[in-house]
């Protein structure tokens, strides 16, 4: 092994010391400039059993107010055998939000609890911060009977016991909704029902909810922001709604619409065509003036 000999005189020593001191001051200064940050977490489990953890990162500004932090480095970890395993590295968006899909085969303890840790790490602007979610995995299924004229939806909430059997959970509030284009709409004014001993919660969907052309609606049953389970939802489709009648020509006398009406096209073509015809005739005449002038000049010369 080679040894590297460095001969340093006094001035070189002082240079190294000054450089180190500068570096130290810069690092300290950079550290001192970092803002305090905080993380808010939420969890949702969808019908297709995908599990999403969403994080909102806030940073403290000079006025001491917490505001959404844009482009913060956020890492998601899952606890597996008492160790934290990195799932994904993300950055927050303009609203300070980011999210991660948890793996399908999720590491859980004996009581079916899983732990997700979200950290703000190695960020240039923000101080390190972390937040933990410790939730229990449950299942919600939504059963709809298309032939049921009473339009009763039954949501069943169960958890998997250590022996692998499904065990009902009682006294959990389930909210019933109808899926709309940009979100969910409460199915009725009183749309929350608690589960019974069988883990079932039944809800009667009102008549006349606007559906698609076949009257299909998407019913949604949701456990929302539960401290033990997070947000868990189940969706199902059924033709309980009012069929949508598509009016092919909703404004029969109006000139506006998806397609221009023929009279309008003809009118515009005639008007603009007429004007442009005059322009072209004029240009033709000007061309004649030019040619005539050129030939006259030729004769003169």
């Amino acid at each position: 092994m080679k040894t590297l000999k460095i001969n340093l005189d006094m001035s070189s020593y002082s240079r190294v010391i000054i450089a180190c001191a500068t570096l130290f001051i810069m690092v300290s200064f950079a550290q001192a400039q970092k803002s305090e940050s905080s993380i808010q977490l939420s969890f949702s489990k969808k019908t297709d059993n995908s599990r999403i953890v969403s994080a909102l990162v806030m940073a403290k500004n000079k006025a001491g107010k917490f505001l959404p932090a844009q482009n913060a480095h956020v890492n998601f970890y899952i606890k597996k055998d008492k160790e934290q395993v990195l799932i994904t590295k993300t950055n927050t968006n303009g609203a300070g939000k980011t999210s991660a899909n948890l793996p399908k085969e999720l590491a859980m303890d004996d009581d079916r609890y899983f732990t997700v840790t979200v950290k703000v790490e190695n960020d240039e602007i923000l101080e390190d911060a972390e937040e933990e979610l410790h939730l229990k995995d449950i299942h919600v299924t939504l059963n709809l009977n298309p032939t049921d004229t009473s339009r009763t939806a039954t949501a069943v909430v169960t958890e998997t016991a250590s022996d692998g059997t499904e065990k009902p959970i009682k006294d959990i509030a389930i909210n019933f909704y109808v899926q709309r284009l940009f979100g969910v709409m409460p199915a009725a004014e009183e749309h929350s029902v608690s589960t019974n001993e069988k883990g079932e919660a039944s809800f009667v969907y009102p008549k006349g909810i606007p559906g698609d052309t076949l009257g299909k609606i998407t019913a949604v049953a949701m456990i929302e922001d539960n401290d033990t389970y997070g947000t868990v939802e189940a969706k199902n489709e059924c033709a309980w709604g009012k069929p949508l009648l598509l009016d092919k020509d909703p404004f029969p006398r109006a000139l506006w619409g998806a397609h221009a009406k023929w009279p309008m096209i003809i009118l515009l073509c005639c008007l603009y065509g007429g004007v442009w015809f005059c322009y072209f005739f004029m240009f033709y005449q000007l061309r004649k003036i030019k040619k005539e002038g050129e030939s006259e000049l030729l004769i003169k010369n």
Partner: protein, 476 residues
């Protein structure tokens, strides 16, 4: 006395052809220091505006004061104003030409030039208003025939082509004259001028057949340009009126905009007349008579505009329907009341009162009145665009405070001032290259006046001969 009693002639008959030509061409023959300073000032304003626009391109429309609700602010108000003043050429040149008003001759070019420059910069304002100007091409690629925006683009392009040609056609004989007079082309600048005049003169020799053809195309353009101009501002009004928004959902918006355009456009022509008359010493040509007649035109247009204004606010004000009522309340007694009443009294009523009197139609008074009208017309466009956008049918709620109010910021002012400077740069450069009066038309006008004078004298002489043959003999 001279200021209120004007001569009947349109152009002084005693002016010779050569004097008229010399007077017209003199400003094009030298570039004074004041012109250079003036141009430097305009270019610096335009440069600053360009910097602001680049800042807007880099940062997006978020750097302006426009937000979700007010997405059409100062830019679109200015667009409507500029398109409005572009009607000046149509009114003064085309309408007066078609009605054979000979007094128009010394002022037509000024009017046509105003049309050209205001269209140049009016047309680009909506592109500036786009966050991504390159998306203007989407209008062609994905254009919908039933959209008023599409009609607007088509009308403005058609009007721009028409008014550019309409400015150029009467210039052809003048360009030929300037081409022939410019013999010394040793300097590079003069060589360029010679080349420019030659190109614009398109081989004009003044032969009978050329005159015949030129008269034909000018007649065609005079007839065509009037409906095109009317269609442009009507279609601009359709952008607003085809929506269901309070304040814009009006059936009289078309004529209201056209009347407003003619009223502001003719006021701008008078302002330009005052400036060029003073700067280029055209007092012999643009006389008090011209101001008196133009003053009468503006007075008539202001009265029409006032009548339409009354209809525009009186009818919805009588009904005060919910959404419209909120807007009108804001205009009549709310946050825009000062600007609204200033427009109504200061720029409509006061000009009417002043112009009713002959002394109110002198150059000085008209310069004051027309400045009021021009400013008022701009503010009025702002009052048409902005308050309506701040009064949507669904109330504005749960939004940042900057979304629920609007006042243009430095970026918008800079860009608009740059556009205004751009207009003035073109006008200044035009005046330094081309005569501001249509020389051949003014010469023709002087000849007509001369023949009128001779005819009148002959009639007078015949009368004298009939009644007093001895005096008639002595006169001969």
């Amino acid at each position: 006395m001279e200021k209120t009693k004007y001569p009947d002639s349109n152009i002084p008959a005693e002016l010779s052809e050569e004097v008229i030509r010399q007077d017209s061409m003199r400003p094009t023959q030298k570039w004074g220091l004041s012109t250079k300073i003036w141009l430097a000032f305009l270019f610096s304003v335009a440069g600053w505006g360009l910097f602001a626009y680049i800042h807007q391109l880099r940062g997006g429309l978020g750097v302006t004061a426009m937000r979700n609700y007010v997405s059409w602010g100062l830019y679109i108000s200015t667009f409507v104003f500029f398109i409005g003043i572009s009607h000046s050429g149509t009114l003064v040149s085309a309408i007066l030409r078609i009605t054979k008003q000979d007094w128009r001759m010394p002022i037509t070019r000024i009017a046509e030039l105003m049309t050209f420059v205001s269209l140049c910069f009016g047309g680009i304002m909506p592109i500036i208003d786009l966050g991504h100007p390159e998306r203007i091409g989407n209008l062609v690629i994905f254009g919908r025939v039933q959209s008023p925006l599409m009609w607007d683009v088509m009308s403005i392009i058609t009007y721009f082509v028409g008014s550019t040609v309409f400015l150029w056609l009467p210039m052809i004989p003048d360009m030929a004259l300037m081409r022939d007079r410019l013999t010394d082309t040793t300097k590079r600048f003069d060589k360029f001028r010679k080349w420019l005049y030659t190109k614009l003169a398109i081989g004009w020799t003044g032969s009978k057949t050329q005159w015949k053809k030129l008269e034909l195309v000018m007649t065609i353009m005079t007839i065509v340009i009037i409906p095109v101009a009317v269609s442009v501002h009507t279609v601009v009004s359709y952008i607003f009126a085809m929506t269901l928004r309070p304040g814009w959902n009006s059936t009289i918006f078309g004529p209201y905009f056209v009347a407003g355009a003619l009223y502001s456009g003719s006021a701008i022509v008078i302002l330009a007349m005052v400036i060029f008359r003073k700067l280029y010493h055209l007092e012999k040509y643009i006389t008090y008579r011209h101001f008196d007649l133009m003053g009468r035109v503006v007075l008539a247009l202001t009265l029409i505009y006032a009548y339409l204004n009354l209809n525009e606010y009186w009818i919805p004000g009588y009904k005060m329907a919910t959404a419209e009522g909120h807007l009108l309340h804001d205009l009549f007694s709310g946050s825009y009341s000062f600007e609204f009443w200033l427009c109504q009294f200061g720029t409509v009523l006061l000009p009417i009162i002043i112009m009713c009197f002959p002394k109110g139609r002198t150059p000085g008074s008209l310069a004051f009145v027309c400045t009021l009208i021009a400013i008022g017309a701009w503010v009025k466009r702002y009052l048409i665009v902005v308050p309506t956008l701040l009064h949507p049918f669904l109330p504005i709620q749960d939004v940042p405070s900057s979304w629920s109010q609007y006042f243009p910021n430095w970026v918008e002012w800079s860009v608009v001032m740059a556009a205004l400077s751009g207009m003035l740069i073109i006008v200044t450069l035009y005046a330094k290259f081309f005569p501001m009066m249509s020389m051949w038309e003014v010469v023709h006008g002087a000849k007509v006046e001369e023949s009128k004078r001779v005819a009148a004298e002959m009639v007078k002489h015949e009368e004298v001969e009939t009644h007093n043959p001895e005096i008639a003999k002595a006169t001969v």
